[in-house]
Symmetry: C2
Subunit: 482 residues, 2 copies
């Protein structure tokens, strides 16, 4: 089944447009795509007319072209009729927004079976039902929530697939935007009657050139499809990341009323995922941290090339002793360790920083340059650390509170890092006034986080990536030691 | 030793003001207090003159009054001389900013012993050395980082005591501001030569009327003082919260170069803390979540009165199924559980919401009102849940993306909650455009968090508080089951 028209359509038709209610999902989708996206969009209404200046067509037959995709936002019985029209008009893809299918049981299950049969017999890529569809910038956006209420993530390397529309829009869109994580395509799979997580994994891993990292929020695999999913993940050159909801007893009860998925035993599932090189973050925050660091340093365009993190050996550079302590505390939990500096190295670092700071600074690992630090000191030390081969990654805890740190510091660090190509992960507090520093770093592919824990999680995620890539190459199963 | 002059001085003198360097710590402190705070401040410079229009006095003897406190920002030997002057001029309190004492070892240790002896013999409340001092709004602020670089937290019920100045300013000030957590007084204790964590616990718990919650960032107790600290915590009517840095092997190494504290075995320490009713958050984020929920609902002014959380029985109300699932997953880890609704209750809830939503909504626990929800539905259901006695707390996952949720929703919820007095903890995504909803809730003492995990952590923290208060009453040791 070809999914390309689902994500890269040239033309789109929408049914289920209310001429009275300006908040009806079909109407929002029509206008959003007409005014904000690049696809050619056609609205269908049995009586014609227009909404907000956009003319409506009376039927699919009345359109000037056969559209690549039909978005259906009507009741369940009418939905089936429209899928039959897709057959008639040779429309290769469809997104079904509405519910009333398997998720309501009984009659809905039969309806979904009918739907599935028509789609598969006629090779129509149907997404949903009961979903919010696709966000594939700059082409289409079928998220039927008003644009002014939601946030869109930036363009990037992460394909996002979610079994929950709410989680997709809120946990992902909002937080991706906040953290500057880029999305290639976002997909809400709903009841996944036809297009399911395995087909999407295959598409984003083998077909889509813009994706390097594929992230899933699932409440369970589609029955009978888990083996296919695992095999695809193992074969993929991309990172596959799965975050599961509904893994506790209480969560399973909630899942049953949400997506009617049966999660099964999470421990067994989790063991299988590991063997197939699928990363499972331990929390939503860790998921976001991983996706951010992979998006910035994803293997297809890693600005640091072969400079990978194999053993987890880090150097911590801070201007606050307490931050160094908190960071050190977390290393071993995340499979990282601080290298030990020789006396000679300590002496050399001592010599290269300003006379006031050097007397109170500490050159162990963590290095604490103290509040008496100057821009030049930070620049010099990063340059110095970049030349030490046994350091695989620098964790920079950059608090811009000391009075002599200038707003140029971001650019100066970026220049060193770009030249030296030593991976560096930075903490800068999330204070809007430091945006100038944050942006200079992120423009140069240096990921910036706003908590120490995320910095440690990010370094750990890079180490995991290296290990997974090596294990895949050698076909050795992965064991997560954490 | 009376600490009142340290936190509530009427007059303050500052030494160590550079007339050339406008970023020198003494100069920043002088001008910050002169221009931004309420204390009467006097700058001392041996040659007099003025800085930025503020006249300087040539010596302490030249001042028009004997100040309540002397802030010392000079080198270590001169510092000792100024402490002697405190004796001469009967100045009851002093903050020593500079280092060069115990933290550098050798001669520094002797210096600190001299300092300590003078202070104790003459009953001078000395804070530091090697600290950033006190932020006690609206009176004084000796944080010597330029105001334009840092953020100040709002005024509230939390006394913050930190062994690291960097952690105080960054991990606390910035994040308190972001999360709207209020501070009564913030203290950086540095080398704690004289004033230590036990004296501060005693002061904030017994003397200061504005504090209800006392939070510590420590890298170890002062030697010989842990017993006193534990006993004070046990006797206190306030919540005592301790967050420790330097608890892992790697962290201990870092701590040695930072504050020269010896943390000892954290497991043993942690066991002792629990027995004395001291709360220990498992992460920095949990610390912040606890402090926020205690600040809003702290026992001295709890707007919900006796309506406490004893068993951890909650109802989850969401407009996104996936959010409900994620929340349910976390309950048992945090000692909470979702109550079960009777068929009759489900039927009643079904009847009270709009006809479109009710057909696709789910009335299990979590309740999922779906994207077809109206303001009135949320209001009605909260009202209904508030009347169910076996629900101790409502967890509201409010995503304002559905098109029919209005910006009035915050106020409407607040009205119900204020009338019903059922504790409610709310999740609203951190999107600036929803500030109108967030503020209406927080103005009515309804804590709002920006992740599901924090909502669960907050409910759990309220349960811990109830248990601790009950155990203290009955003098039973606390065992943390987590």
């Amino acid at each position: 089944m070809d999914l390309d028209k689902l994500f890269r359509p040239k033309s789109m038709a929408v049914v289920g447009i209310s001429r009275k209610n300006n908040l009806s999902p079909g109407r929002i989708i029509l206008l959003k795509n007409e005014f904000e996206m690049n696809v050619d969009v056609y609205g269908i209404h049995p009586e014609g007319g227009n909404v907000e200046g956009v003319d409506l067509y009376k039927s699919l037959g009345a359109l000037p072209v056969n559209p690549d995709i039909l978005v259906i936002a009507v009741g369940p019985d009418d939905t089936i009729e429209y899928i039959r029209e897709c057959v008639e008009y040779e429309i290769p893809a469809s997104i079904i927004i509405g519910g009333g299918f398997a998720e309501i049981g009984g009659e809905g299950i039969k309806r979904q079976e009918t739907l599935e049969k028509i789609a598969i017999d006629n090779d129509i890529a149907v997404l949903g039902p009961n979903c919010i569809g696709v966000y594939s910038p700059p082409l289409i956006d079928t998220v039927f929530l008003p644009t002014e209420r939601i946030t869109r993530p930036p363009k990037g390397s992460v394909a996002l697939i979610s079994q929950s529309g709410g989680v997709l829009v809120d946990q992902f869109f909002v937080k991706f935007k906040e953290r500057n994580i880029g999305v290639s395509t976002a997909v809400s799979i709903g009841n996944r009657a036809v297009v399911d997580e395995s087909m999407l994994l295959e598409y984003f891993s083998k077909v889509d050139p813009e994706t390097s990292n594929i992230a899933f929020y699932l409440e369970g695999f589609k029955i009978g499809k888990s083996r296919k999913f695992l095999t695809l993940a193992k074969e993929s050159d991309d990172m596959t990341i799965c975050y599961f909801g509904g893994i506790t007893e209480q969560g399973k009860v909630a899942t049953l009323s949400h997506t009617a998925s049966l999660g099964g035993n999470y421990k067994i599932l989790s063991g299988a995922l590991k063997q197939y090189y699928i990363i499972q973050p331990h929390s939503e925050r860790e998921l976001l941290t991983m996706l951010k660091v992979y998006d910035v340093l994803s293997h297809k365009k890693n600005p640091f090339g072969a400079n990978t993190i194999t053993f987890g050996k880090v150097a911590i550079l801070s201007v606050s002793g307490g931050h160094g302590v908190l960071c050190s505390d977390m290393l071993s939990d995340y499979g990282l360790s601080a290298i030990t500096f020789t006396e000679e190295e300590k002496e050399e670092m001592y010599e290269m920083i300003n006379p006031i700071a050097r007397e109170i600074a500490s050159f162990n690992n963590p290095i604490d340059l103290t509040g008496s630090v100057l821009d030049k000191d930070i620049e010099n030390i990063i340059q110095y650390l970049s030349n030490i081969e046994r350091i695989e990654c620098i964790l920079l805890l950059l608090l811009p509170y000391p009075p002599n740190i200038s707003f140029q510091i971001g650019r100066r660090i970026a220049n060193v890092v770009t030249a030296k190509k030593k991976p560096i992960i930075t903490f800068i507090p999330y204070v809007e006034k430091y945006q100038m520093i944050i942006e200079s770093l992120e423009l140069s592919k240096i990921p910036v986080f706003h908590s120490i824990k995320e910095v440690v999680q990010a370094a750990s995620a890079l180490k995991d990536r290296t290990r997974i890539m090596n294990l895949k190459k050698d076909n050795i199963f992965w064991e997560d030691k954490r």
